[in-house]
Homo-oligomer: 323 residues x 2
């Protein structure tokens, strides 16, 4: 197999299984495989589909730590005891979505065992080892400094956020259909924020026939909203736009839906907040006015865990071979 | 008010309340109102939003029969006892969605009283009275013949079916998001039938990024599907298309998803049947194979009762003034 073929396989294996399914695996061709040794240390249900997808990549040899209560088995995946893990040999380590807490403890829902990663443990990792986590934590940042680690917080990546915005928008659509007594078609939808999530949400609701208005601050965002055929307004003018709104979807992680904004809203309007905690809504005041609110977090894992797992597996597969 | 203004008001009142809200009602202008006397005889929760919408039309004077258990009141709507109803004076009668059964009994869920409409009752209706029902029944057809009635089965109308296809498609979207672990985006969706419902369902799923293939029989339908940018296939070839399908949505009220078709399907595929009873799926065989099926009937009333009620109210408002 020539170099180009090898590169092609690298790329393709991270996004599809067709090539291996069609019998083009390294083994059958007699080419020596350079396995990537990956350890997955803890995690919750969101990781199961990621593990399944990664396990289909023949270039990856995986060991699971902190999954001892898991009944499900994966072909070619080994459950390993934390203490017997050969840390020095690892090419990559995947930590849970919430990372490691201030005491170095791992979030491992499929294990009763408490697993701590201390400075000594991190120092055993090879220079080339890549460390993945969902989000970084002060403790992990400290370990990164001390041990010169290659740390990749997956959820901070633009590509992951954009891929995840698809199941997030579908989750918002599901909630909007469930919790209103009218069709999304021809309803007045306000989307606040036109970032990685807001852009997807606005376009999906528009494609279902809703009258979408998007609030943003950046002049370039307002221009892009206009270009996309939707109405735009500056967030400073929000209160002037909420009166006719049937569904308000917020993606801004700052309290933007305040008392004066809520005072303009119809009482049968629905508010969906997609912004991370504490969200962008004055929930207490909304409740006081009797306006229905849904603070919907982690929608990708809820409405499309398989897709959410595949998004992580695809990105990890790409990154471990390019770092 | 001139004739044109009057016509405009007629049309507009059936689709919006703005004109009356803005103070342009007949009374204020001192124009004599020709009220339409309507009796609503029985019905279920689906009728409440219709009644609410109709009650906002100042040209309509409504009486409810068979709603005695209803706590909710509507402005300007009178609850009337069946026996005291002045049948001869009615301009229109609205019967329940399922019509009247073979004994002449009305379906009235908000009443303990059993109400029967006999031949004598129908004979009392004036020649100009319009009778609305959801669907016709053999009994109603017989009464229509005997008494020369103007009977309009609303659910048979193309316009009602097309308006209702919107909440139906949104309900199918909700179910598809709820009952799969992947995103609709990039999923393989087969839609069977390209009639009033199939056309809406296919276009909505396509607009959410699904790979939609539509099965139909008519050459003109296959051409229209192609024109809409989707893949089409002849229903005779269905079994050749089900292997890659993630979600199958049937709208054909004939058993088209048979054993040989189901044998090709992935076990984690989802089948949504929107066709009226008994539907188009071999449900027993699907269950035997472990394929998840949802026979989703009456979605408009479930996911968007307000919109579903408004659709009926709008059509009735149009028809009573033009018949």
């Amino acid at each position: 197999m020539n170099q180009i073929g090898y590169m092609y396989l690298h790329f393709d294996q991270s996004f599809s299984y067709d090539i291996t399914k069609n019998g083009y695996s390294y083994k059958r061709r007699g080419v020596k495989m350079n396995h990537m040794h990956i350890a997955i240390l803890g995690g919750d249900a969101r990781y199961l589909d990621m593990i399944k997808k990664l396990s289909e990549n023949e270039q990856i040899k995986m060991e699971l730590v902190g999954f001892d209560q898991l009944n499900q088995g994966f072909t070619g995946v080994k459950q390993t005891d934390f203490t017997s893990l050969e840390v020095e040999k690892l090419d990559a380590v995947i930590l849970p979505i919430p990372g490691v807490d201030q005491n170095g403890q791992l979030h491992a829902v499929f294990s009763n065992e408490c697993i701590y990663l201390d400075d000594k443990w991190f120092s055993r990792l090879s220079d080339s080892c890549v460390l993945f986590t969902g989000i970084s934590t002060p403790y992990l940042e400290q370990m990164k400094q001390t041990n010169n680690l290659k740390l990749i917080p997956l959820m901070d990546r633009d590509d992951v956020a954009i891929y995840n915005s698809i199941p997030t928008a579908e989750g918002a659509i599901m909630l909007a259909i469930q919790h209103t007594n009218f069709t999304l078609h021809q309803s007045n939808v306000l989307v606040l924020g036109y970032g990685r999530v807001g852009m997807t949400v606005a376009s999906k609701f528009k494609s279902l026939g809703a009258n979408v208005q998007v609030g943003a601050r950046k002049a370039s965002d307002l221009a892009r909203i206009y270009e996309s055929g939707m109405d735009s307004f500056h967030m400073n003018d929000l209160a002037a736009y909420t009166g006719q709104c049937d569904i308000l979807i917020n993606t801004i992680p700052v309290k933007v839906v305040t008392e004066p904004v809520l005072n303009q809203m119809k009482l049968n309007a629905l508010i969906i907040d997609l912004a991370s905690k504490p969200g962008g809504i004055d929930f207490d005041y909304a409740k006081q006015r009797g306006i229905q609110t849904k603070h919907a977090l982690g929608l990708p894992g809820m409405v499309a865990p398989k897709t959410a797992g595949e998004i992580l597996a695809n990105i990890i597969s790409q990154l471990i071979f390019t770092h």
